[in-house]
């Protein structure tokens, strides 16, 4: 079987699992929960095999070799890998905490990522590597960066959960912050979904699409009334999240995790992510640039944003260790750090230009 058939099977499994997890979450039927887990595991196995099959197929292109053929070279492949990391992380948490409620939140994210791939019609072909990408450092650089991103994503989630667990009333500052952040995320995701539905049908290449059509269907529309309506809807959505945030808080409380543990979990994920990011993201990136272009550091936007992200997390560590900051203040820095991480990964490519667009060589 080729990699895309296998990945198709995995996608179907994940989407079925998503439906089942949500049903389980609402009706609390154990049997449904077990079937959901079973589907997720089957999907995960198919996904894993598909990843390696693609890796193998890639390595067969004109003798590229195994090490250089890691399928993490374009947006499609990185989203597929992101879903893989997410499901793996989720399964570990499910087996450790023996709690399936989180599945109702995680599988929709996976489902959304899969839908994103399909609606955007991004190329799923195996693209041969241009010379600059033919480096053994690529494997270490990309995979380690991803592990660090995943660790930072977890710290983001736990920092949000921390804020929600310490906010005992709707008036508290922390309640306002975590519902706002969640609201913004929802609005951005929905707006991007609209863009894809409306513009992707026109059949543009996804690069052009992301650069000039992002938020075109909503906030950047040519018609002023649509901009106005979108803004109103966005505010309403955020108000809804604010209004019903208390319900979400109850779900998080059902996990029985104390705020202190959440705070420490945030710290722990950053403490894992930081050294991995330093080595894989910054150092291996610099070594690779040194080998390919003769410059270990050239202040291009991607590098600079990695450095900014690094500074923010260094700030977090120092504030905690030296000034003894705990709780809300550090949670805020953790949130900021992840926003910067996302910008480093997506924003730079979408909004800023640079060496990393692999333009010339």
């Amino acid at each position: 079987m080729d990699n895309s058939t296998l990945f198709g099977i995995a996608s179907i499994m994940y989407i079925l699992a998503m439906v089942l997890y949500i049903t389980h979450f609402v009706f609390k039927k154990n049997a449904i929960g077990w079937i959901a887990t079973l589907f997720t595991v089957i999907g995960f196995v198919a996904h894993t095999i598909s990843f390696f099959v693609r890796w193998y197929e890639f390595s067969q292109i004109e003798g590229l070799g195994i090490i250089r053929a890691v399928p993490l070279t374009n947006l499609y492949e990185s989203i597929v890998f992101f879903v893989w990391c997410l499901i793996l992380g989720y399964l570990i948490i499910e087996f450790r905490f023996k709690n399936k409620s989180l599945g109702a939140f995680v599988t929709p994210i996976a489902g959304m990522a899969l839908a994103f791939i399909d609606i955007s019609g991004m190329s799923k072909e195996i693209h041969p590597l241009v010379p600059a990408l033919q480096s053994n450092w690529l494997l270490a650089h990309v995979t380690m960066s991803f592990i660090a991103y995943a660790a930072f994503a977890i710290s983001f989630a736990t920092a949000l959960m921390y804020l929600s667990s310490v906010s005992d009333s709707k008036r508290s500052k922390s309640y306002f912050i975590w519902t706002t952040v969640l609201g913004i995320f929802l609005v951005v995701i929905i707006a991007m979904g609209l863009d894809f539905v409306l513009f992707k049908v026109a059949g543009m290449s996804h690069k052009v699409f992301l650069k000039s059509y992002l938020f075109k269907a909503s906030f950047r529309n040519d018609s002023f009334s649509i901009v106005l309506i979108s803004s109103i809807i966005a505010v309403v959505l955020m108000a809804l999240v604010w209004r019903y945030g208390i319900e979400l808080k109850k779900i998080i409380e059902a996990f029985n995790i104390t705020p202190d543990t959440l705070d420490e979990l945030t710290y722990k994920s950053i403490a894992v992510g930081f050294p991995v990011f330093t080595l894989g993201g910054l150092i291996f990136g610099a070594v690779w640039a040194d080998q390919a272009w003769g410059r270990y550091w050239s202040w291009d936007p991607k590098e600079t944003w990695s450095l900014i992200t690094w500074f923010i997390y260094a700030f977090y560590l120092h504030a905690r260790l030296l000034r003894g900051w705990r709780g809300v203040k550090t949670a805020l820095i953790a949130l900021l750090g992840f926003v910067s991480t996302i910008f480093t990964y997506l924003g730079v490519n979408l909004l800023l230009s640079g060496l990393h667009s692999y333009g010339s060589m």
């Binding site: 292109i61 004109e62 693209h127 041969p128 241009v130 010379p131 600059a132 033919q134 480096s135 202190d260 543990t261 420490e264 710290y267 722990k268 403490a271 894992v272 930081f274 050294p275 330093t278 080595l279 150092i283 610099a286 070594v287 040194d290 080998q291 390919a292 272009w293 003769g294 410059r295 270990y296 550091w297 202040w299 936007p301 600079t304 944003w305 450095l307 900014i308 500074f311 923010i312 260094a314 700030f315 120092h318 260790l321 030296l322 000034r323 730079v348 800023l352 230009s353 010339s360 060589m361």
Partner: protein
């Protein structure tokens, strides 16, 4: 109160964490500007960008301001570099301040302490166990060993103390990390002042003993470098480049001393100077040589070199051939028409004219990447190369500080992994008789992960319970 001297105050200024926070934040914000405003590009580009952001009325003035301050080439500006120096000084002073206490922590072994000290620790748990003091001590000692500690036992008149610690050297990690940043700065400084970053374009077949800086200044090399050949290869059936290769020869006093093929990701290093494959270009001259492989029926391949418009004999025949046209990137559209689609040699092709005597009897395009076009009526002719028409663009760097940068990377990795994956944990366990039971007081401290250390301690105490029940059931 005595007033502090000036030197002390300057020292305190540089040792303060507040300064670090301010410098950190300022560098971050400036860097963000630096990624939005394009660096080191023509004024036009940034004015365009500013027009989009602020409208065309303000853009020129804003640009003038930005340019005057140097925000469009900020990583080279004196104020950005001063900030980096401030950061480094801050870090050095901080490190010197903390050195004595770090050394103390790492050198001094853990000691037994009084009960009041244990009671004031961040983690303290106490409980009463229905067991003799000696048995309790054994159980706890084993439990500690199972968690990776190495407990020592101290006997007092009325109590026993077990003390243990783990990951003491993890404390050095922070130090190594900070030193690595200073080493990094040193490496960058040496590279900036003692090295250079230049370029060199070499046409196939030519050589040079100088390279150029971006501002046009010449830098002499004490050897000569020659490009013997440059070649781009493409993935089958596409215009995606697969490799860029230059065959380079180094000459000393006219003698060849080294030959190497370089490509992206595989540079050539000679006498501290590194040559990177960075670009290429196409500029044919009248002296460029067409190379053809000709195979007649006898299965023998003959390499023929010819100039443009020059006739040559087809081996084993009375036919002469002339190269009458050339295209660097010949493609075919849907209706089968030929057209040139690029300025570089993506798919070079030659038009061959075949003559019998002086009479033109045939003509045909030969496309380098399409073997089906090599077949002619008279022989199989492969177009190999137009040699002497492409130049290789090399980036040339001398950086005597780069080894320090690599050393810094190594130190930073070691330092960070030490400080995050070895965490310093200290445990004191006090056990004493209380009636016919034992009282156990555990105090513990760690520079991080307090909650999980507390869980560990609870587990260790629970260990005594478990065994307790088991002995009773025996």
């Amino acid at each position: 109160m005595t007033k502090k001297g000036l030197i002390d105050r300057i020292w305190d200024f540089f040792a303060s964490i507040k300064l670090a926070i301010v410098v950190f934040s300022v560098i971050c914000v400036l860097s963000i500007f630096g990624t939005v405003i394009e660096q080191n590009v023509d004024a036009e580009k940034n004015i365009k960008l500013l027009t989009r952001l602020f409208g065309s009325d303000f853009a020129p003035d804003i640009y003038r301001l930005i340019h005057a301050v140097g925000l469009d080439s900020m990583y080279k500006s004196w104020w950005f570099i001063s900030l980096l120096f401030l950061f480094a000084t801050n870090l050095i002073v901080c490190s010197i301040e903390r050195l004595p206490s770090i050394i103390k922590i790492v050198k001094e072994p853990i000691k037994p302490v009084g009960e009041d000290v244990i009671q004031s620790m961040p983690i303290k748990i106490s409980r009463t166990v229905d067991k003799k003091v000696a048995d309790c001590t054994d159980l706890l000692s084993n439990a500690l060993k199972k968690s990776g500690f190495n407990p020592q036992e101290y006997k007092n008149s009325d109590s026993i103390q077990l003390i243990a610690e783990k990951g003491r050297y993890g404390r050095l990690g922070v130090y190594i990390t900070h030193i690595s940043i200073i080493v990094l700065f040193l490496g960058v400084l040496i590279g900036t002042f003692k090295g250079f970053n230049g370029y060199l374009n070499l046409l196939e077949g030519t050589s040079s003993s100088v390279v150029y800086l971006p501002n046009g200044k010449e830098i002499p090399l004490d050897f000569e470098i020659r490009c013997d050949d440059f070649e781009v290869t493409f993935y089958q059936g596409t215009d995606t480049p697969k490799s860029y290769k230059s065959l380079i020869t180094i000459l000393e006093n006219g003698k060849e001393v080294l030959k190497k093929e370089i490509g992206v990701n595989s540079p050539l290093k000679y006498k501290g100077i590194t040559f990177y494959q960075s670009s290429y270009g196409f500029s044919p001259t009248v002296n460029s040589v067409f190379r053809l492989n000709v195979k007649t029926e006898k299965d023998k391949v003959v390499m023929i070199e010819a100039l443009f418009n020059e006739r040559f004999n087809l081996p084993n025949s009375n036919i002469t051939v002339k190269i009458s046209d050339f295209a660097p990137a010949l493609g075919m559209d849907e209706s089968g028409r030929l057209f040139n689609y690029a300025d570089s040699m993506n798919n070079p092709a030659v038009m061959l004219e075949f003559f019998e005597g002086n009479r033109l009897i045939d003509r045909q395009w030969i496309l380098k990447r399409y073997p089906q076009t090599w077949q002619t009526k008279f022989a199989t002719i492969e177009f190999v190369d137009l040699w002497g028409s492409q130049y290789t663009g090399l980036q040339v760097r001398k950086d005597p500080g780069v080894w320090l940068v690599y050393l810094a990377c190594l130190l930073m990795t070691i330092g960070l992994f030490m400080s995050f994956f070895l965490n310093h944990q200290k445990v004191w366990v006090l056990i004493r008789q209380k009636g016919n039971k034992s009282e156990v007081i555990v105090g513990a401290n760690s520079n991080k992960y307090k909650a999980s250390l507390e869980n560990k301690m609870i587990n260790i105490l629970a260990f005594t319970d478990l065994r307790d029940n088991m002995t009773r059931s025996n």
